[in-house]
């Protein structure tokens, strides 16, 4: 029972980590919170669903499609809602409010296009194969989620620390001005980061849509909130924090449900925010001296 719940918690948590990574990347580079990330995630889920339902593509192609669509959506957001704010000195709240605007726009656009009711993947999308490992039962969907989430997280880590572009992103995260001086085209790097973060969100959307087999316009808000909770819990702009924080939240939620308080599942994330703010305000892996992010 315990081990079974742990596996379920890890699976759920790995999707939270993936969503939180999107917040973290943008926080790290731009020092802002992208309040629309949850809605981009939701659009990813819908794109995946549409591709599987109407074009009958396989699930991995659908994920790639969702990733590309969300990356484009992210680029559009950066150009329309974020870049104009960087040109003039505005308060910290401006990008926050601007992305809240994007989020409410996207959510209601989705309500208009797709309707409020929850939609499901066609039954053949992924066979309901269950694998027995000792006392633990694990489904094919869970294996795919775990594999893809962890795979992506480690590729991302490696890519940021070892490649040229990754290093440019990290320099930009340290200081946009310094990066400019070093001849890095920071606008391009920012665009790339937002696209990458949004693309990850799109993949997460398809994975979550598959695992709970429900895709609906309001899924963005609740998932976005969990991603934000993980962002604060793990430490703003910290990649390790996002990964570990997501797993902890997933496990905490699964155990809350398993031990009786199922209807309060959505309150766990908030409890974690308040708890961490009281005992370690900079977050689990955050450093207390720096405001911005560091990878």
């Amino acid at each position: 029972m315990f081990w079974q719940q742990l596996v379920n918690g890890l699976t759920l948590g790995s999707t939270y980590s993936l969503v939180a990574l999107g917040y973290t990347l943008i926080m790290g580079v731009l020092n802002i919170i992208n309040m629309a990330h949850g809605e981009i995630f939701m659009f990813g889920a819908f794109v995946g669903l549409l591709l599987v339902t109407y074009l009958k593509v396989n699930i991995f192609v659908a994920m790639a499609g969702a990733m590309v669509a969300c990356a484009l959506l992210g680029i559009l957001m950066e150009m329309l809602a974020l870049r104009p704010l960087r040109r003039r000195a505005v308060s910290d709240l401006a990008p926050l409010i601007s992305t809240i605007g994007v989020s409410i726009f996207l959510e209601n656009l989705a309500l208009k296009i797709f309707g409020p009711q929850s939609q499901t993947f066609p039954s053949g999308a992924l066979s309901g194969v269950q694998i027995q490992l000792g006392s633990i039962q694990i489904s094919l969907v869970q294996i795919i989620i775990l594999g893809i989430s962890f795979g992506l997280m480690f590729v991302l880590r490696f890519w940021l620390s070892k490649t040229r572009v990754g290093k440019a992103i990290r320099t930009t995260a340290e200081s946009i001005d310094t990066a400019n001086l070093l001849g890095i085209n920071t606008n391009k790097i920012i665009l790339l980061t937002v696209a990458l973060a949004s693309g990850l969100g799109g993949i997460a959307g398809v994975l979550v849509g598959l695992s709970i087999n429900a895709v609906e316009p309001t899924m963005g808000l609740s998932m976005g909130l969990k991603g934000l909770a993980v962002l604060i819990f793990g430490g703003m702009g910290n990649i390790t924090g996002a990964m570990v924080g997501g797993l902890i939240l997933g496990i905490a939620e699964v155990f809350t449900v398993a031990y009786g308080a199922s209807s309060y599942r959505d309150a766990v994330a908030f409890g974690m925010i308040i708890l961490i703010l009281f005992i370690r305000p900079q977050g689990l892996f955050g450093s207390s001296t720096r405001k911005g992010g560091r990878f």
Partner: protein, 314 residues
């Protein structure tokens, strides 16, 4: 007279005033440069506390509403204290999460009646109607029907609330506390270095905002006969925020004008009301890009004063 005082217009006027009061609640928190995304949550606490007290415990409305406000502001202090020691972003996220938690709790508690909500709340209009007939005016006053009179009285009550709030904020702005708020908004660490306990004043502004949101919640419960968890969802917070974003949050008049415009527009443009929230979203993005200070800022007022002053002289 009957044309102006028809039921529909009165109803809209009542909602304009209620929204203006909510606009003041977000203005007060923004006065220290903090963004609260929990106003719908605080409204919810105020509305439910008040409705439970008046419906189930039989408390009079005039006690229920302030108690609801105090409950909201008490809880805001618990949330605000850890979040306000850090930068503004933390408060925004903590309050956003808080709003969702209030929704979850309201859905699960027995006393709030879950998803069904509480109905049969005595409306302010009906109470006033009863009071009027007890005073010997069962058929209204001065040629108005009983319903018109009581609706008009509700309007007066709300107008008094809003006027008091405007009075409160103007007085506050020209006092030691108001200067501390403005200093924190302008430069938090410089304000701290000038001897201002920034955490205390940020918490004060946040708790005052929650108090007003809670009172507005109590009022709304007694205006609509019914409250349910859906009335206080995230969309409501975004709506309140849009009042301040459109009107501006430098001056108290800003969010009030924002509330007026955004409550009237969907009524005037019926066909657009379907896209209301999409328009709000686009509006927020556009305002931040082109006019982050909102329609009315201190410079706007200075400009018009100068222009009108010159006009007078000529």
């Amino acid at each position: 007279m009957d044309v102006i005082l028809n039921q529909y217009y009165l109803q809209i006027a009542i909602f304009v005033l209620l929204n203006a009061i909510l606009g003041v609640s977000i203005y007060l928190t923004l006065a220290t440069g903090q963004l609260s995304l929990g106003n719908a949550g605080f409204m919810s606490i105020g509305a439910y506390t008040c409705a439970i007290l008046t419906v189930k415990a039989g408390l009079p409305i005039y006690l229920g509403i302030p108690i609801g406000g105090i409950a909201a502001s008490f809880i805001s202090i618990i949330i605000g204290f850890p979040a306000l020691r850090l930068t503004g972003i933390y408060l925004a996220i903590a309050t956003l999460g808080f709003g969702e938690v209030v929704r979850v709790i309201v859905l699960n508690l027995k006393v709030t009646n879950g998803a069904l909500g509480i109905s049969g709340i005595p409306t302010l209009g009906a109470k006033i109607g009863k009071a009027l007939s007890a005073l010997g005016f069962p058929h209204g006053v001065g040629g108005l029907t009983a319903q018109q009179t009581s609706n008009l009285m509700v309007l007066v009550v709300l107008l008094l609330c809003l006027s008091f709030l405007i009075f409160f904020c103007t007085r506050l702005n020209r006092s030691r506390v108001g200067r501390a708020f403005a200093a924190i908004k302008a430069d938090e660490s410089a304000a701290e270095a000038m001897g201002i306990n920034t955490t205390y004043y940020k918490l004060l502004a946040f708790a005052l905002g929650a108090l007003i949101a809670g009172i507005a919640g109590g009022l709304s419960a007694h205006l609509t006969f019914f409250i349910g968890p859906k009335d206080f969802a995230y969309n409501r917070t975004v709506e309140i925020l849009t009042f301040a974003v459109l009107g501006g949050s430098d001056l108290i008049i800003g969010p009030i004008v924002g509330a007026l415009l955004l409550t009237l527009l969907p009524e005037l443009l019926r066909s657009a009301s379907e896209y209301r929230l999409m328009i709000y979203g686009a509006l927020m993005v556009a305002m931040m890009a082109f006019r982050p200070q909102g329609l009315i800022s201190e410079e706007t007022v200075r400009f018009w004063k100068r222009k009108l002053g010159r006009g007078m002289k000529q």
